[in-house]
């Protein structure tokens, strides 16, 4: 067989997860015995000292693995394409993504965080599940307090619980996605302009995020369109509902003109399909009805019905750079989607901050540069990392599920999300309860 060890390992620029892991495995085998493997796996850091490593801690196995794997691909691709292919940072340092499977478990995430820190990693990226994000941000805060020599930054690219940038905020946490309140703010701005909507039905999963969405919708609709009647406000058990038909019946019977839901994953698909199937004809405003097979599974039935609030729309594509990037990504991952374009912003902003700070190891310096950064995203618009709470402020788009006028589809289904309206720098001046403590 061709090629052994180091030469090839470095030929690939950004770390290929399996390549790294393969090398770890090699050490496993040579020593034999689980116990020695333990120390070696955990201590295997010396070889990559020059690389700037980002630990990607998200589910890579289990029911949420598809979202996690897709996110990992976007991170790896972004690091390669935006940083390494352009010569790296600080005079040639490569950016490397090291994947850790947290099985969407807070406990596993904390273990993997410790492993990552021991490997000398200073940047932690995570996004799936606010529960995990909450566990990580607290653990990072405590770790940085207790171990000033090995401080780390937490780059949250998708967990949207408002608390993370409010009462639970800390200096080490940066959120690149809009939080649930910002999304709802933008969404209700759009709904407010639609005179046809008189009755709205709110439905969500019965946990903190679902409740936050409902509370925000109630509050903001009440402020912006007091004439809109909330005809339903309900929560269903998360991940336990087999058949959404009864909920759909209620929605239809309520005479609602629009549905708002924060559901994700199978709960999103199940609810959406059922609502459409049982005769609802109005728009369904969602947070997460795109990519990861959901767009493909909705297909024709969701056309013109499903609407999505998100940042960084890809239809129409904003810049030539973005188009080239997406095409390169599709060439590499024909099955994949760039459904979290903010990941590219994470890499871009981190790279800029490291360059400005002139160091990748002093995370306080890097964090100080990230704070207040204004970044021109290739997906359009500016990203402003608000220093008060480390919440990224950016343009928000409401798009529609369709197969017409698309630059890029999702799930190779011919369907995708086409931006209908945009709220620029959404919630720029929204209040925060964060009391940022800087080191």
């Amino acid at each position: 067989m061709q090629g052994f060890g180091q030469g090839l390992a470095f030929k690939k620029i950004a770390s290929k997860r399996r390549a790294v892991l393969g090398r770890i495995k090699m050490k496993n085998i040579t020593k034999l015995g689980a116990v020695s493997a333990l120390s070696l796996v955990l201590g295997a850091s010396a070889a990559f000292a020059e690389n700037i490593k980002i630990a990607f801690i998200d589910p890579l196995s289990g029911p949420f693995a598809s979202t996690g794997t897709n996110g990992l691909h976007q991170f790896e691709f972004a690091a390669d394409y935006m940083v390494n292919a352009k010569g790296g940072l600080l005079g040639g340092d490569q950016m490397e993504i090291v994947a850790f499977d947290n099985k969407i478990s807070p406990k596993e995430s904390l273990i993997q965080l410790q492993v990552a820190i021991d490997q000398g990693i200073r940047y932690i990226a995570q996004g799936n599940s606010s529960g995990v994000a909450n566990a990580l941000t607290e653990a990072v805060d405590k770790h940085n307090k207790r171990n000033p020599d090995s401080r780390v930054l937490f780059l949250n690219y998708a967990a949207v619980d408002p608390a993370l940038t409010n009462e639970k905020c800390n200096f080490w946490h940066f959120r690149f996605d809009a939080n649930a309140d910002i999304k709802m703010d933008a969404l209700t701005d759009v709904i407010a302009q639609d005179e046809g909507i008189k009755k709205v039905y709110l439905i969500g999963q019965d946990y903190s995020f679902g409740k936050a969405v409902a509370a925000a919708a109630n509050k903001m609709l009440g402020e912006k369109r007091p004439d809109i009647e909330i005809v339903g406000d309900e929560l269903h058990p998360i991940g336990k509902v087999k058949d959404f038909t009864p909920y759909a019946r209620k929605i239809v019977s309520s005479g609602a003109d629009a549905v708002i839901t924060g559901n994700w994953g199978a709960d999103m698909l199940g609810l959406g399909k059922s609502v459409i199937e049982n005769g609802f004809t109005g728009p369904i405003y969602t947070y997460y009805a795109a990519g990861s097979g959901i767009t493909g599974a909705f297909g024709e039935s969701g056309k013109g019905r499903i609407r999505l609030i998100s940042q960084g729309g890809i239809n129409p594509i904003a810049t030539d750079e973005a188009r080239a990037t997406y095409e390169a990504f599709e060439a590499k991952y024909p099955e994949g989607n760039i459904d979290q374009s903010r990941i590219f912003n994470v890499i871009g902003m981190l790279a800029e901050a490291i360059t400005e700070a002139g160091t990748a190891t002093d995370v306080v310096a890097v964090a100080s540069k990230l704070e207040g950064m204004e970044y021109d995203s290739m997906w359009g618009g500016k990203i402003f990392m608000r220093p008060q709470d480390h919440q990224a402020i950016q343009d928000m788009h409401v798009g529609v599920h369709t197969n017409e006028g698309l630059d890029f589809d999702y799930d190779n289904s011919g369907f995708g999300v086409l931006t209908e309206s945009t709220v620029e720098m959404a919630s720029m001046d929204s209040p925060t309860t964060c009391e940022m403590k800087r080191p």
Binding site: L235, R249, S292, A297
Partner: protein, 318 residues
């Protein structure tokens, strides 16, 4: 009133689907005394196989072939796995099926990946059969009811009217005697296991397009199937039917009507505490029936086991 009718139909669909799963499970239990934790996994396999077949040969061939493939697989599992573990006793058997469920889920992910499959209702059935005051009843649901009822009648006929059914019934209660009469009891066991899993597979084939075909579909349904047969009484086909319909209707109606805990408690004479928002029980007071609809069957099961351990129609205790 109209909504009640609609809910009755929806609950019937859910209940009958559950019955197709629980019928096989309860047959397997009464034969072999083992609760097959992997039963819902065969349901999942049914959906995935049918999806794969439907890509090449269309939905109807999937409906025909997939359950057979699942049944053959099930029989293989009995012959080469369960029969071996059988000698160690019931607990290892149960744990074997538990492990099998995990393994099947991993295998499905290995083969088909982790995303939702675009397995959908065939065009012929993709229309609204009729509507009751704005609530459309899709034709596919009528089709599901039809299939389930046909299966139930067929099963009942085979078990009570045919010679094979007689032998199976006898083997349920007196395996030794039946063996002594010259019947191949292990073969009967394998057959029943195969048929039971094929039924689960069939349920998967027809449920996949409406409830989604994804690696977690077995987990979502897994334990509720047990709940069904425990409530109905282990080993009782009628019990399984009644419990399935009961669960179907209870969950459907609980989801359809917002009954609030506060109202219930007030109605039975407990008044709302004054400063509810500070109370540690605030979440309890604000419970609504849709919130807990899908855990109602568990409450029902625990209550039944406490007061009538044999279940509604069961004869044996454990």
């Amino acid at each position: 009133m109209d909504l009640i009718l609609v809910n009755l139909i929806d609950g019937l669909v859910t209940g009958l689907l559950l019955f197709m799963l629980s019928a096989g499970l309860t047959l397997i239990f009464s034969m072999m005394g083992v609760l097959n934790f992997a039963h819902a996994s065969f349901y999942m396999l049914g959906a995935y196989f049918a999806y794969q077949i439907s890509l090449a040969l269309g939905f109807w061939m999937g409906l025909l072939i997939a359950p057979i493939v699942v049944g053959v697989l099930g029989a293989g599992v009995e012959r080469y796995g369960l029969r071996r573990v059988h000698q160690y006793g019931h607990v290892p058997e149960l744990i074997f099926t538990f492990g099998l469920a995990l393994l099947i889920e991993e295998m499905v992910q290995f083969i088909w990946g982790k995303n939702q499959m675009a397995y959908s209702v065939p065009e012929v059935l993709n229309f609204t059969a009729f509507a009751i005051s704005g609530n459309s009843i899709p034709a596919y649901k009528i089709f599901m009811i039809f299939i389930s009822v046909a299966i139930f009648i067929g099963l009942l006929y085979i078990l009570t009217k045919t010679r094979v059914g007689m032998i199976i019934q006898a083997a349920l209660s007196y395996p030794r005697t039946v063996e002594a009469l010259g019947h191949n009891v292990p073969l009967i066991f394998m057959g029943v296991f195969g048929v039971g899993t094929a039924l689960a597979g069939l349920a998967g084939v027809i449920a996949g397009p409406v409830l989604g075909t994804f690696p977690g579909m077995a987990f979502v349904l897994g334990s509720i199937v047990f709940v069904t047969i425990v409530i109905g009484g282990l080993g009782s086909l009628w019990g399984a039917l009644v419990a399935s319909l009961l669960i179907g209707w209870i969950t459907t109606f609980a989801k359809s009507y917002n009954i609030e805990m506060e109202d219930v408690l007030n109605a039975i004479g407990i008044s709302t505490p004054e400063n509810l928002s500070d109370s540690v029980f605030r979440d309890f007071w604000s419970l609504t029936s849709p919130q807990i609809a899908d855990i109602l069957p568990y409450i029902l099961m625990v209550l039944i086991l406490i007061f009538r351990p044999a279940g509604l129609f069961g004869k044996r205790q454990s």
